[in-house]
Amino acid sequence: MTLNESIPLLVVLSSLVPGLIIFGLAEERSTLRIVLNLLGAVIKFALVIWMLWGVYNGQHYELRIALLTDLELVLRAGPLALLFVILSSVLWLVTTVYAIGYLENSPFRSRFFSFFSLCVTATVGVALSGNMITFLLFYELLTLATYPLIVHRGTEQARKAGQTYLIYTIFGGALLLLGTVWLYTLTGTLEFTPRGFVSQLDPSHYPALIMIFILLIGGLGVKAALFPLHGWLPQAMVAPAPVSALLHAVAVVKAGAFGIVRVVYEVFGVEFASSLGVTTPLAILAAFTIIFGSLRALFQDDLKRRLAFSTISQVSYITLGVAIAGPIATIGGVVHLVHQGLMKITLFFCAGNLAETLGIHKVSEMNGVGRRMPWTMAAFTIGAFGMIGAPPVAGFISKWYLGLGALDADQGWVIFVLAGSSLLNAAYFLPILHTAWFKQPPEHWHAEHDFGRHETALALLIPPIITALLALGAGLLASVAVSPLEWAKIIAAREFYQP
């Protein structure tokens, strides 16, 4: 195994190995556990940066392991993979710090961090997978690794939520498996290729291809929470805050959206997919989900539930960008993969801080909380403005490119969806901000914890500030060469313009 082959494997192992060690670790050994967690996260981050540098300089990182004579496990660091893998490794590092602070003194930490690491392993695997079978492997691993995190609290409600989650995701996995095997029987290959590998098939197979597309998108749509497959997501809110943050920003939801990007661009090829006539229905479904999620979010008083419905809406921007099937919309969709992650993780961190510090779970309890916790609410405000699409936060960039892309592809109706969604976003985020900053705080907070000099524990405060700054930076510095936007442009160019 050469160095360039081993690095993708090491990226996967850097969280798998700490996870397995932590599983066997006694509950009291918290120092060793923290060291292992952070070590894994830092090593992964360093390896990813190394790969990024290498890819800039024309290196090729690929590992192949044969499972059967014509079926291989492939890990490959292409531009799209790198975009997602960087997002995962950065956010894992931040979330680990947050989780250490959040779960201090709570029971079953070894179990929690073990599955937490496994979850990230699966996400990174999803990102790096170079063909459908590898993708499927890590996608299923992700389902299994997330389940213990959702039921972590061990209450009856958590068990029920876990059950719902499994019913949806296992069913989705079955659809994905069926679609993948069917595809394989037609093509004999599953290798992700820019502009797809199915367009050479005989036109007599087109009906089968449409069915396969439906199966694959159905399987991925469960995790991406596409309507009507979104039912598990609001229930999964019973999980601890760091899990919700990771679930919504990088791991589960994003893996589904990333899968849709892969299937449309690198299995079918977007031009072929639109000639099959499958992208327009997908765009309509995504648009409907955007509006639906926002509408439902309006009526939630529980902060985390409101954020969950907001996720349903926001993740569908990615699908929408993909399904518009034009180069500029592609940029918008792909870049939103990163932007949504940064913004949403900030919001969830903040929600976790409110719950942990003051016992606030509902929007109606947030009166004047901005004065008690200014830093947290400042980060929350940045995230919320990003979601609404206000410049200069990252969300604006996504919406701008989506809108331009829709016009470019002669799909003007999308503009109305974007505008309507932005209005709705404003309608459910601005009241929160108003309540938090301008209303009179109560005499006593519901269940206040004293964290000394700072408004809350530093391990809880620093992560949302970092991610909020990253979200701001991704918007302000969008034209810098290493920004997510520039990466998205490279990916779009590869899909549409290169020979």
Binding site: L67, L73, L137, Y147, P148, A158, R159, L178, V181
Partner: protein, 489 residues
């Protein structure tokens, strides 16, 4: 030096040792019950070595045929080993060793002295079965295996165990009787019971069809194919955990092996139409077994019904593999993965039973934190049973699914997918309970490492099979038991 080792490995007669060692071990255990555990463990290690030696020998020299006493077929008894036998011997040795280690801690001393002689006898019968080259010898070993298995089922000496064992005894005797009748018919018509001689002589006549019908019915009963599975759940669930694991992992596979062997060598060339019936019953078994598993409230019954469902997959492969012989390797691989995963599950269930004093699924609380290795073993075995990657179960189901879609058999494909969903449902029904935090109502007892690790290692084995399919398929294809004519899949 290397050549010395080579000569040593080639001069030893591994198959004969594989049969004799457990027989001798069984006798020693019977005569000196105090040394039973030691003798048993030594025998199992020796058997593992012999299988390794046989693997080497087959890889070097191809198939093995040994006329016992120098007589040769059709007069004498031939021992025969190819890839098909080897993989079964390998499964038996690996699973058997893990279960043996487990049983040293699980069984009470008086149970242990009864367990070892019978288990070693069962091992001898299994090994002899996989090495037999004629139908009558297969019958003898089949009967031996059945009786030893029934005895083991009754080991815990409770009323429930006797009931299960009695039903099992009747089923297994009826099954072997059908099989014996078929042999009589064949011997009468073709004057031989040697499989390869029969393969040359047999023709499409009422006698051979009647014989095939009897063999199929008898062995389907012994393999617990739906709707002849009625005896399996009570027998497998009432036996002590190591015995349940042996029965589910190895004993039902042995009768399936005979059916497969007889089908491949004698009846498939006749172009039998029975494959569709097998396929249909297999589908029903998957659906029925899984739904029954889902309805159970006791862990061991759930696992036993899961076996009924998994056996269905083995039979569902018949219509597919009859058009595409290389698929038989996938079927065997599925049997191997199931053996590892299912024994791991039964052993984990045994741990939970020892730990909590019961196996009510709804009262399994916080197991994940207290018996993490056991919970991990159950979960990993579950991954293979559900057919999720990476596992041996996934590799096999992937190949079967691919064949089903290629051949346009959507009925089979959809049942496979549906069966996977149901399997996930019943496995997570158990796993979901292990995370809950109800107050404990029982005195928990510690579970020794020698009970946790065998379960975990077996489950890991099922996962590892997901990565070593290529060399394993190479082993299975030694001797070309599926008539591929040198074409590797």
């Amino acid at each position: 030096m290397a050549s010395l080792i080579n000569t040593f490995i080639n001069t030893l007669n591994w198959p004969v040792l594989l049969i004799l060692l457990p027989l001798i071990g069984a006798m020693i255990c019977f005569i000196w019950p105090r040394s039973a555990i030691l003798t048993g463990l030594i025998t199992l290690s020796a058997v593992l070595c012999c299988v390794a030696g046989l693997t080497w020998q087959l890889l070097e020299h191809g198939v093995y045929r040994h006329p016992v006493g120098g007589w040769g077929a059709p007069l004498g008894i031939d021992l025969y080993a190819d890839g098909l036998s080897l993989i079964m011997l390998l499964t038996t040795a690996l699973v058997g060793s893990a279960i043996s280690v487990y049983s040293t801690a699980y069984l009470k001393p008086q149970e242990s002295t009864r367990f070892w002689p019978v288990w070693l006898l069962l091992l001898a019968a299994l090994n002899a079965l996989f090495l037999s080259a004629d139908l009558f010898n297969l019958y003898v070993t089949l009967e031996l295996m059945g009786l030893a298995a029934v005895t083991l089922t009754a080991l815990s000496a409770t009323r429930q165990a006797y009931n299960g064992a009695m039903r099992y005894l009747l089923a297994t005797l009826l099954g072997s009787l059908c099989y014996l009748l078929a042999i009589a018919l064949l011997y009468h018509a073709y004057a031989t019971v040697d499989i390869s001689l029969l393969a040359q002589r047999v023709d499409s006549s009422p006698v051979s069809w009647a014989a095939f019908g009897l063999i199929s019915a008898g062995l389907a009963l012994k393999t617990a194919l739906f709707p002849l599975h009625f005896w399996l759940p009570p027998a497998h669930s009432s036996a002590p955990a190591p015995v349940s694991a042996l029965l589910s992992a190895l004993v039902v596979k042995a009768s399936f092996y005979i059916l497969l062997r007889v089908w491949l060598e004698i009846f498939a060339p006749l172009g039998a139409g029975a494959v569709e019936l097998f396929g249909l019953l297999g589908m029903l078994a998957v659906v029925w077994g899984s739904i029954q598993a889902l309805r159970q409230t006791r862990l061991k019954l759930l696992i036993a019904y899961s076996t009924v469902a998994q056996i269905g997959y083995l039979f569902m492969a018949f219509p597919l593999a009859s058009n595409r012989p290389q698929l038989w390797a996938a079927v065997l691989y599925l049997a191997l993965s199931h053996a590892l995963a299912k024994s791991a599950m039964f052993l984990s269930a045994g741990n939970l039973l020892k730990y909590g004093g019961h196996d009510r699924i709804s009262d399994l609380d916080r197991v994940v934190q207290r018996l993490p290795l056991t919970a991990a073993a159950f979960a990993l075995a579950g991954v293979s049973i559900m057919g999720l990657p990476p596992s041996g179960g996934f590799i096999s189901k992937w190949l079967l699914l691919e064949a089903a879609i290629t051949q346009g058999r959507w009925d089979l494909a959809l049942v496979m997918i549906f069966g996977g969903l149901l399997a996930a449902a019943y496995i997570f029904k158990v796993l979901g309970r292990t995370f809950t935090q109800a107050a404990t109502t029982h005195e928990a007892r510690a579970v020794p490492a020698s009970m946790e690790w065998p379960a975990l290692l077996l489950a890991l084995g099922a996962i590892v099979l997901g990565f070593i399919a290529i060399p394993m398929f190479g082993l299975i294809h030694i001797g070309d038991a599926f008539g591929l004519g040198g074409v590797q899949p």
